[in-house]
């Protein structure tokens, strides 16, 4: 394994998603400032996009892969999370789903980072 693989494209994308979710989770039970609401809308848009067959951003496509490979892609559950993100404080169920997703993303990040690479 190469240390330089640590911040490969894949692992960086997973990291960005995990960071975004943890930012949202940090103030999940508060109504949220305009900045918080902006982050929630960003996350909601990504999750909503990830649920489609044809994600229209690279980040959403990465999220779709994680949801699918982790068996977390049940559309109705994520529809509820998307809806909750568009409102005020997040209900406990949405927080739990996002917590689970953040953990999965960290695992995907670690897997991408440690995978034996044929370089170039």
């Amino acid at each position: 394994m190469s240390d330089l693989g640590l911040q490969s494209t894949e692992s960086t994308r997973f990291r960005q998603l995990a960071d975004l979710i943890d930012t949202v989770l940090l103030r999940a039970t508060e109504p949220g400032t305009p900045a918080d609401q902006l982050e929630r809308r960003r996350l909601a848009a990504l999750i909503e996009q990830a649920g489609r067959d044809d994600p229209n951003s690279i980040q959403a496509a990465y999220l779709a892969d994680v949801l699918s490979s982790a068996g977390l892609s049940e559309p109705r559950a994520w529809g509820q999370v998307v809806e909750a993100l568009g409102q005020g404080a997040l209900p406990a169920k949405a927080v739990q789903s996002l917590e689970e997703l953040a953990v999965r993303l960290d695992q995907s990040h670690a897997r991408a980072a440690t995978r034996v690479r044929i370089r170039r």
């Binding site: 693989g5 960086t12 943890d22 779709a64 927080v95």
Partner: protein, 377 residues
Amino acid sequence: MDEYLQPALADLQERIRQLKGLIPPNLGRDVATLERTCRDRLDMAVAECVSLGEPATWVACRHRSIRMRRYRRLVEDIAWIESTGINALQRWQDTDDRLNRLIERIAREIHFPLPSPVVACLAQAHYEIDTKLGLLVVPPADGMFLLHLPDVYHELCHLLLDEESDARLAPLQDAYLSAWNAARGYVRAEMRIEVNQARRPESFKLELRAWLESWRAWMLELFCDAFAAATLGPAYAWSHLHLTAKSDAEVFAVPKLLSTSHPCAAARMELVLQVLQLGGFTGDVTRIRVRWDELVASIGDTEAPAYGRCYPSQILRRVAQEARSATQSIGCVMADPKAPRPIEGVFSAAWDEFWNAPEAFADWQARAAAELGLRTT
């Protein structure tokens, strides 16, 4: 956890201070961007140490797991900067300077639309790029040899695919996403077929799941291959043949249970030859194909039964066409068989000499590398 985290975070902050002290002074302009990026990243790490060490932010029970996740990411970030950027800066040498000047010339020659990366000769194996630091690493002696330097063109494309919010790069990134969606759609359709087949072994489904996950990384690599073949021409295909000859990976490898980061060598060559064909390098394609078939026969690998299903021709064809066309759309100059540019010409001539005058190749390469400024005479 505060009893652990407070001293651990203080220790990390001290580590950052020491890391900055390891950067030698006056490294020069070639490496200034890398030094700046490393310093900025370390400053961000200090800010995160301060944030994580602020007990009032983390009192709520549900915040504990977020704090630990962020702590682990912070530790990893610092380790990454230390092992990549700081490592490169600490052992910076004249060979690095010489290769950086060549990379600048390559970037200008192909009209590369982003700042060229800093190159350091410290890779433990083959070429690799860290897009966040803009750091390309090559093996220590590769800055003096010509046969693998074509791989630099592949690495440059990783920067184009990773750059965010730059409208100029949208044609390439959109083409990449669209091709990836097509590949995902294809594998999902194959998965549905498996689900509907009675008495199919469970391993088939696991295999397809590994393909689905693999295509995420494969599409990146294939786009980079297409970019390299489009902007450099046949020398990139020869370099790929060279790498395949030296690698012990299966030429027609198909993932079984676990995903892989790179597509197999055969699929990559298939794609590269299609890009060259589109660029008008018909004679070169024929010559490369003959040598490739000889190599595959010598290795003794044969096409795995699942190869065609895993790497469908229609997807590879699409990548060849769309990646080449998008490379042109972002303003990069395509390799032209009738009018090779100076550095492209040297890399191409290196492979001609390698095949046509092998006994004189070492001397030829030494002269050509000196003319490119890679060796002191």
